[in-house]
Amino acid sequence: MAMDSRSDADLVAAARRGDAASFEALYYRHRDWVAGLARRICGDREEALDILQETFAYVFRKLPELELRAGFRTFLYPVVKHRAIDRKRVRRPPVEAPEPEAPRSVEGAIDAYVSQLGEDHAEVVQMRFADGMTLDEIATALEIPLGTVKSRLHHALEILRRKPNP
């Protein structure tokens, strides 16, 4: 399907001038990523869809003052993350915790891998692998030095190397 070839910054600038089609294009360009990220953090599909809605409502409210100095996703990331964490926090835990099982699927192997990383390292590797962000974008989105991102990713990759392949 034909997609809008303008950059995120151009679309944001046009949306600020009241061009609904540009906002529409931004939405469709980043919709799936926002929903996926929200689901990954909060762990619930329905809540992820709520977060998607909240996130773009927030973006729309912010438009008048929004000037992209980095990628649009570096702007979106903390917005989605904080909402997803809030949702996860207030959600009641399941009545019975499931028995831990040996990973039998690819998804299980990924979970097992991610679970042995610290939270900070897991976040970086997921932003890199699942979200396809560059190291610079990760550093900007997390507001940490680039060297820290490299260090965390390096550590995570070393753990992956030591594990049998999924």
């Binding site: 399907m1 809008d4 609904a20 089609a21 529409e24 939405y27 869809l49």
Partner: protein
């Protein structure tokens, strides 16, 4: 192991470190790093493992967003109503803006397949618009006890224009009921068009389809319908809307041709 960007295949290093392998995986590696991976089996395997992990992580978090969520989100954007002349302006952006406005602001009867096409070109999901614009109000099944079944081909004569979207209405007289719908000829319209299933067994049907791929021109068989009749009935067809690949509305002729009859 060097954590800086300087980790390459050159010098005394036998293999790339994890960061360099990941750069190659992401298409961000230097030419030297990419070349090393091509030539070094161990690094090649390890890059493939990273690629597999990345793809699996992407797949694991995928969420399908329903069309109603899209509508709920996009309907909150204030939109300026466009004057009617912008429909004829030929600009895809103008048509899209109008299509979106029609989709979210105006009642169901106002949207048509050209709006759906404009949304599809933008990468949006046009399913809901197609459903709405082909819905038949209060369809009434007919009690036809006919013993004649006839296939009727539906043609759109696009001339030298590329037929990217079309929507038509077909009516029969009281002696017949439309009982089936098939796709047409050619890649673009081989699948059955969108229609309201509740309208089957009745005398009125609205069909619509669009393509964002290559669009045919000339005389295009866009669909085939099946009619049950007590005796040879009158069939009428009228164009509701059509668009070229540029999103421009046009008014091609539409025709029906009986192709076969069985008892």
């Amino acid at each position: 192991m060097n954590l800086s960007d300087s980790a390459t295949a050159s010098g005394s290093m036998d293999h790339l470190d994890g960061l360099a392998q990941d750069r190659v995986r992401a298409g961000e590696g230097s030419p030297e790093e990419a070349r090393h991976v091509l030539e070094c089996l161990q690094c090649k395997v390890e890059v493939e493992v990273l690629r597999f992990m990345a793809n699996a992580m992407k797949d694991a978090q995928a969420v399908e967003v329903p069309a109603e969520v899209d509508r709920a989100i996009l309907s909150t954007i204030p939109r300026r109503r466009r004057p009617a002349w912008s429909l004829l302006a030929g600009s895809a952006a103008a048509i899209l803006a109008v299509a979106i406005t029609l989709t979210f602001v105006l009642p169901a009867h106002a949207v048509d397949v050209v709006d759906a096409y404009a949304l599809s070109r933008k990468g949006g999901d046009a399913t809901e618009i197609l459903r709405r614009c082909t819905a038949v109000d209060a369809p009434r099944p007919r009690k036809i006890h006919g013993n004649r079944f006839v296939a009727v081909d539906v043609y759109v004569e696009a001339g030298d224009r590329k037929l990217a979207a079309w929507q038509i209405e077909i009516n029969t007289d009281d002696r017949a009921a439309i009982v089936g719908v098939e796709g047409g000829a050619g890649d673009a319209y081989r699948d059955p068009p969108t229609y309201d299933p509740k309208a089957l067994q009745g005398g009125k049907l609205v069909l619509a389809a669009l393509t964002t791929g290559p669009a045919p021109s000339g005389r295009v068989r866009v669909a085939r319908i099946h009619v049950m009749e007590t005796e040879k009935c009158e069939l009428e067809v009228r164009l509701i809307a059509a668009a070229t690949t540029g999103g421009e509305r046009f008014e091609p002729k539409v025709k029906l041709e009986r192709t076969g009859e069985s008892r």
